[in-house]
Symmetry: C3
């Protein structure tokens, strides 16, 4: 069994942003030499997501508004008990559950085995500090 392990460092200056990590993951699959296997791509932080969807800026703006409706930012200690700890990011812990922690992508013939519009993104919900995404590839 071959494997490759790589942490990608992210530094998002704004509080929230959707960032393509697709090309970096493709490159790591090539480096791994794995022809047939699985790639795990996961946020290593609990106020961020890795997800697969459309590379279309209008949709990304729609996600921003939708997640804000489902789990509004509110730094006060009234809405979220988590924010009584001195944190202001309870909403980020909620948004991340909707968008997910990780994706698993098949590798076939040495490449990511994806549909035509599948694109891998990192979603930052509480930026302004360094965070990591883990890429773990296993296979033959």
């Amino acid at each position: 069994m071959k494997s490759l392990t790589k942490e990608l460092w992210m530094n998002v200056p704004k509080r929230r942003a959707i960032i393509s990590i697709h090309g970096e993951v493709e490159q790591l699959v090539r480096e791994s030499g794995v022809q047939d296997g699985l790639a795990l791509i996961n946020a290593m932080h609990i106020t961020a997501s890795v997800f697969i969807n459309d590379n279309e800026s209008g949709l990304h703006q729609d996600y921003e508004e939708w997640l804000e409706e489902l789990a509004p930012f509110d730094p006060s200690p009234e809405r979220y008990q988590h924010n009584r700890t001195g944190e202001d990011n309870a909403d980020a812990h909620h948004k991340r559950q909707i968008m997910g922690r990780e994706v698993i992508v098949a590798i076939t013939g040495g490449k990511l085995h994806l549909g035509p519009w599948e694109h891998i993104f990192y979603y930052e919900f509480d930026g302004g500090r360094k965070k990591r995404v883990l890429v773990k590839i296993i296979g033959d």
Copy 2:
């Protein structure tokens, strides 16, 4: 390491539907000869989901209504910026995030290792065209 890779083609005439793919996945596990490993089952399109839940039609109808509340269908360009591109399926990209892109199921003793009520489904949110589900099995 053994592996099996198979794309299942789906063609849902209606806009939305929940379709069992459980039997097909079971059959592919048998074909793979894998006794101990993992099966990845994922939608290859970004307006569809693969999920595991109850094979009960009332619950499926409940999901339909619930997802429509959380992310209503609205082809106009007002609610969703994505629909300014000429698409009308922004709601489908949202619903798919709630229900998920993929499931990973363990294989033990040559069979899917599932609880008594776990059943694998494809969820189409923007039908009327051909789409694919990927099954990737790896193990010994």
Copy 3:
């Protein structure tokens, strides 16, 4: 390829609870002898989740209230068709979709490869009976 398969039995007396299974999963990774691979941790029941987030009781209370807003408990047959079958747990099938069925965690150097605050939990949405979590570890 090495592997380890273990079902963890859960018995939550209350209807809902968030329970750490982090230490048990760490122990199973040690037992497996796997240095480099993947760990799948999934609920074997369709009214429960396995998820990774913060080990902070205020946040867990926030999740309780948030999920109750998104998918309220209602045993009557009016809101949820599923509850016309004699069940009262349709809400639990919905909540589990938000929080997810499973997590996949990389194993590197014989240990779970996690960020500093990542903690593995079981989330029971319909307790009062015995349920299982599956841990499946594969790798070298």
